[in-house]
């Protein structure tokens, strides 16, 4: 655990009258698996979009690898693997075209690892993305996020709406990624058991504010479970909040 990979300080973001993020400060140390937990609409995706530079900080600051992701997108994004909640891979591409296209952007792209992942995920090279199932699309997105062995892996609600087998693949990928020394994972989810399984550090976010941010062990020592901690600090378990 050395310097911060992500450093967010006093970040506030408003969309019209809605405050999506309210003075959020988080710091991600290198080599950790960081779980971002909250109900839908809590501000998880907004925070991740700031980290990727897709949203510009209105007030406060965002630094990734010590750089401003808006001012220097190439230096930041070339070190990040990102799996979007929207899974917006181009439907017209074939799987092999997606791999070939994505590999061009990352100097550290590992062809052998990409092929290993493709076979492990049972993705046909000639299959069009638009013809893949939701789970297969998630796997294809995960493949291109992982195959360049990113220093920072950002997964935004990666298993939302997916079956247990695909969720297992994603969690397995997170575990494999952290097996590489010095790599960091930011993992947003509203599924507490999933986060509990892999996270070292958990940040609970509610109505745009950080409700709790602590190492998982510390949370577990003070609460019966992550769900109990969530109810104590946020008010209701994410699934209940959604309903």
């Amino acid at each position: 655990m050395s310097e911060s990979v992500i450093s967010v300080s006093e970040l506030t973001r408003r969309f019209g009258a809605t405050t999506a993020l309210d003075s959020v400060s988080v710091s991600l140390p290198r080599g950790a698996v960081y779980g971002l937990v909250g109900a839908n609409g809590a501000g998880k995706t907004t925070l991740i979009r700031h980290i990727l530079g897709v949203l510009r900080a209105e007030s406060g600051s965002v630094r990734v690898f010590g750089l401003d992701p808006v001012a220097d997108p190439v230096a930041v994004l070339s070190r990040i693997g990102y799996l979007s909640e929207e899974n917006d891979l181009p439907g017209w591409m074939r799987v092999d075209e997606l791999i070939r296209y994505t590999s061009a952007f990352y100097p550290k792209w590992d062809d052998a690892y990409a092929e290993e992942l493709r076979q492990g995920f049972a993705l046909e090279p000639s299959a069009r993305i638009r013809n893949l199932s939701k789970g297969q699309k998630a796997r294809a997105g995960l493949l291109v996020a992982l195959a360049h062995r990113p220093e920072l892996l950002v997964l935004d609600e990666p298993s939302s709406g997916l079956d247990p087998i695909v969720r297992r693949d994603i969690l397995g990928a997170v575990i494999r990624t952290i097996a590489h020394e010095g790599r960091t994972v930011l993992f947003s989810s509203h599924l507490l058991d999933e986060v509990e399984e892999v996270a070292d550090h958990v940040t609970m976010i509610s109505h745009g504010r950080v409700a709790l941010s602590a190492p998982l062990e510390a949370i577990k020592s003070s609460h019966r479970s992550l769900a109990a901690a969530f109810i104590a600090h946020v008010g209701a378990a994410p699934s209940a909040a959604e309903a």
Binding site: L52, G53, V54, L55, R56, V70, A71, D72, P73, V74, V76, L77, S78, I80, Y82, S84, E86, D88, L89, P90, G91, W92, M93, D96, R100, Y101, S103, A104, F105, Y106, E124, P125, S126
Partner: protein, 544 residues
């Protein structure tokens, strides 16, 4: 709201309410103009065209095409896909397939008929030609009904929907034009058009039924190359650079549309040469038609090129997949510009190959060589060759420019800018006719314009250069372009301006045209400000 029909109608009305209000306002303004200003009662002529024709035609024809897109769900669907563009979310509604097809057709028919009747009642000028009351409304309804049926049909090949629809509607249009030409009586027109409505409805029911059952024919196997099947996985090298990969992405996404559209239209246009053997003037009209096809079609395809997210029709934001590419916004724009260049060259290659072949095979080649020979005799061979090359280069550059000049609008991702720009363009188109007519009709205005020409050109150049300087400053400050790239870009632009200026000076070697005027024209002709603004627009959208 207890009826499925009312719910479907409410959705159309709710989403397009502002367009309906704008249309009603426009018709009322036209009606008021007609009532309050007696001069507007003077007949409007179509041949030669009266400037006021544009005032009536542009908004109404735009609304007509807008309604075609709305009621066929063309605004939200993927026209090139094999699958039906009928929204799949509606298939889950507990209503019959006939109702799913019938309600949008009924609302569309009522709206189209209302558009014509509103035009006829409130806005039609005494055209000087007799326009019947019933069959144009029926034609609009039939046109929409066939558009809906053909759009909702699943097809065996990607892009087949566009080809089938264009050919079918063009055939229908041709029959109607012939009927107008031969002054066919209204009852006969009604008898021709009315039976098509039930036919279109039955076709639409069949189309929606197939789409609802998930039946999509697949004929791609008949055209697939052996190397592209799963048995023989394709082996390709890596892209040499991220820029090449992004250019490939843009080409695959947008680059083939323009050559495909040009390739679709060109055979029909050039086929007319076989009818024009004895009419040299007609040969040149056909050639002109073929030459303006690429820039004209580029104006349509530019809309998709400048859309940040073509996968979601009504979304203006950059999709995360593109926004998170480790490329600068300037590199993303460079890929688009490169794609536009290849797309332009591919489209022009088709034109330049097809045109001489068609001239030769139709026996009209001699008409062209004879005219070029006369021009060569009159102004000399070098000048004649320069004229031909300049015209050709002008058309090619115009095609590329059409593809890229709206990037700085579409890529901002702000709906109000995109819609405002469309509104402004339509307003300018509406005003263009009356202004041109005013200039043509008044020799005083022409004289004043001629005297003020240097000032007007200087003003435009000042505006362009000020905008370019501001954009360059912003590009530099935001670090979207490095100093070296900015200087190199400026140097290329200056070289292009000097080259064009040199050609113009050589060509117009006359004391009647001052050289500084040619310099101003060269500065205005070479694109600079709008293209330079595209990276700023994308960055504004990409980092919101």
């Amino acid at each position: 709201m207890r009826s499925a029909g009312l719910a479907i109608g409410w959705e159309f009305r709710r989403r397009h309410l502002w367009v309906l209000i704008a249309l009603a306002g426009y018709l009322l303004v036209l009606a008021a103009y007609k009532v309050l200003i007696p001069a507007s009662w003077e007949p409007v002529t179509l041949d030669p065209p009266d400037g006021r024709v544009g005032v009536a035609l542009v908004p109404l024809s735009t609304t007509f095409f807008y309604f075609l897109a709305v009621f066929s769900f063309g605004l939200t669907g993927d026209l090139a896909a094999r699958q039906s563009i009928y929204p799949t979310r509606l298939f889950a509604l507990p209503v019959t397939t006939r109702a799913l097809a019938g309600w949008p057709m009924l609302y569309g028919a009522a709206t189209m008929a209302g558009l014509w009747l509103g035009t006829a009642l409130f806005a039609r000028w005494p055209w000087g030609v007799h326009l019947p009351f019933i069959w144009p409304a029926l034609l609009a309804v039939v046109f929409l009904a066939w558009t809906q049926a053909l759009m909702w049909m699943p097809y065996g090949l990607p892009g087949l929907r566009v080809i089938v629809t264009v050919l079918w509607l063009a055939t229908l249009d041709a029959v109607v034009l012939l009927a107008i030409h031969y002054q066919v009586r209204e009852p006969l027109m009604v008898a021709f058009l009315a039976p098509q409505l039930p036919l279109a409805y039955l076709t639409a029911c069949a189309a929606v039924g197939r789409a609802r059952r998930g039946e999509v024919p697949d004929w791609r196997g008949m055209f697939a190359r052996p190397a592209s099947n799963a048995v023989m996985p394709r082996r390709r090298d890596h892209f040499p650079s991220p820029a090449r990969a992004q250019a490939w992405f843009e080409w695959r996404r947008h680059g083939r549309s323009l050559p495909a559209l040009v390739g679709l239209l060109l055979p029909f246009e050039l086929a007319l040469l076989w009818l024009a053997k004895d009419a040299p003037a007609f040969v040149f009209e056909i050639l002109f038609l073929a030459l303006i096809t690429p820039p004209f079609m580029a104006a349509f395809t530019a809309w998709t090129v400048s859309q940040p997210n073509p996968q979601i029709r009504e979304s203006y934001g950059v999709p995360p997949f593109i926004a998170t590419r480790p490329l600068t916004s300037a590199e993303l724009i460079a890929a688009k510009l490169k794609m536009a260049m290849w797309s332009t060259l591919a489209a022009w290659l088709l034109v330049l190959v097809a045109m001489p072949l068609a001239l030769e095979w139709s026996g009209t080649w001699s008409v062209v060589t004879e005219r070029v020979g006369r021009m060569s005799d009159a102004i000399g061979t070098p000048r004649a060759a320069t004229v031909v090359l300049l015209i050709l280069a002008g058309f090619i550059v115009a095609t590329w420019k059409q593809l890229v000049q709206s990037l700085h609008i579409g890529l901002t991702g702000r709906a109000w800018i995109v819609k405002g720009s469309v509104l402004l363009t339509l307003t300018l188109l509406i005003l263009l006719g009356p202004i041109v007519e005013w200039i043509i009709d008044s020799s005083n205005v022409q004289r004043a314009l001629w005297h003020a020409l240097p000032l007007i050109l200087a003003g435009l150049v000042t505006l362009k250069m000020s905008a370019a300087a501001w954009i360059a400053t912003r590009l530099d400050r935001s670090r979207l372009l490095g100093d070296r790239a900015l200087v190199a870009g400026a140097a290329c632009w200056v070289l292009a301006v000097l080259a064009l200026y040199g050609v113009l000076v050589w060509f117009f070697s006359t004391p009647f045209v001052a050289h500084y005027l040619l310099a101003l024209i060269a500065i205005l002709a070479i694109p600079l400000a709008r293209i330079s603004a595209a990276p700023l627009a994308l960055a504004w959208n990409r980092h919101r």
